[in-house]
Amino acid sequence: MSIPGKLIPEALKTLGKDRATVSYPKNKRTMPDRFRGAVEFEPEPCTGCGMCERHCAADAITVETDADGNVTWSYDVAKCMFCGQCEESCPTDAIVMGQKFELADSEKPSFEESYTFDR
């Protein structure tokens, strides 16, 4: 039977080390380039093709075109699963995955955003 405590040297070494903790809310890190945060939408290039809606497994994006040709693009970040398929499917780069991840909110309606524009 060996004596327990194989970890003691490591634990004591750790005492001398810098702590591993980030000081998150105080200092925010820069997210990596590829980080997939909330979707950012640019109405300008959008053609209203609806590929994003079609490829969205969570149905977070809806695209509606009314009789007058007005396109309503709406997005619910609380449904979004941040897969980035919409960005890839968008033929005109109207959708970009942003860097924003601090999305917490107590009111559900504030998660929805929508753009109506003419095509």
Partner: protein, 329 residues
């Protein structure tokens, strides 16, 4: 000294130092230092200094639920008994001089008994809260109690045998007068340390509250201020246990104990704090570097390893005593 003065000092001991106020403050501080050191050992930041106080106040302000199938009277009374026990125990342990606030021949036994009270209060509280987890937790508490009490008592009696007295204060004075006994008593100190860890139900002996098996065991149903009291009990028990160990094995306030006057008191308190914090730090490191044992492993370690060691320690102490008295060459 007049009776009034006696009464006044008595009350001071009780309520301020080393009684309620001091223990409350030191207990919470000890919890903070314990958590902080534990966190640092794990490479974390750990809680802010006033954390235990915030926890305590928050719990006081929370709803305190009595579960439907609990036996309300016992369930409600349990947290107080343990707390009362540990607060009382402190009065018999020397703090700034070798003389405890209250002392009499045989007070060591009382202290040891009072230190067992929290386990019993946990047992009653857990048993009567009517939850299956807490029932298993309480049976484990009691099983564990049987496991550690005997080695703990034996270890505590080793210095008592050396000093030839059952009074904590006398033992402290004896160790203070013969500091090399600290080395003789090292094995007993180690055993007492392990037993104290088991008493406090901390890793590796946190079997009764094993969070991964029993949620928090005995305390599963407790909430609000009753939980706060249980937590306070643990904190104070930690301090009192550390103080007892430092008094029995490390010579209490020595070498500061002999200084006269206010400086002596101050130095004594400093030495007391240093020694108890050292004991607490040892307990924390122990908590950080091992895995939890199973209940039967814990009992078997205590019975098969620690009890024989404690017995031989007493034999060694006897021999050393005989040797110093010149009875054996």
């Amino acid at each position: 000294m007049s009776l009034e003065l006696d009464l006044a000092t008595g009350l001071l001991y009780l309520l301020v130092f080393p009684g309620f106020a001091f223990l409350f403050a030191y207990g919470l501080t000890a919890e903070f230092l314990d958590r902080k050191l534990y966190a640092r050992l794990q490479n974390r930041v750990g809680p802010p200094p006033l954390q235990p106080l915030a926890d305590f106040l928050k719990l006081l302000s929370k709803e305190s639920v009595v579960p439907d199938n609990a036996t309300a009277r016992i369930y409600n009374a349990a947290p107080l008994t343990g707390l009362a026990g540990v607060f009382t125990a402190m009065l018999y342990i020397p703090v700034w001089t070798e003389q405890a606030a209250f002392a009499f021949e045989g007070d060591l036994v009382v202290v040891l008994f009072l230190l067992s009270l929290p386990s019993f209060s946990l047992f009653f509280g857990g048993w009567y809260s009517g939850n299956v987890f807490s029932r298993i937790g309480t049976t484990r508490t009691i099983t564990q109690l049987f496991g550690y009490e005997i080695p703990f008592f034996l270890a505590a009696f080793a210095p008592a045998v050396a000093a030839g007295s059952l009074s904590t204060s006398e033992i402290t004075a004896f160790i203070g007068a013969n500091p090399w006994y600290v080395l003789v008593l090292l094995p007993a100190f180690a055993i007492a340390l392990l037993s104290l860890q088991a008493k406090l139900e901390r890793i590796p002996f946190d079997i009764p509250e094993a969070e991964t098996e029993l949620a928090t065991g005995t305390l599963v149903e407790y909430s609000g201020r009753k939980l706060a009291l249980f937590r306070l009990t643990k904190d104070v028990e930690l301090v009192v246990g550390a103080a007892l160990l430092s008094a029995l094995f490390l010579g209490g306030p020595y070498p500061a104990g002999s200084i006269e006057g206010f400086a002596g008191v101050a130095a004594g308190v400093v030495v007391f704090l240093v020694k108890t914090l050292a004991v607490i730090a040892l307990l924390t490191v122990l908590k950080a570097v091992v895995a939890r044992l199973r209940i039967e492993q814990m009992v078997s370690v205590f019975y098969r390893v620690l009890v024989p060691v404690a017995l031989s320690q007493i034999a060694v102490v006897l021999l050393v005593g005989l040797y110093t008295e010149g009875l054996i060459p």
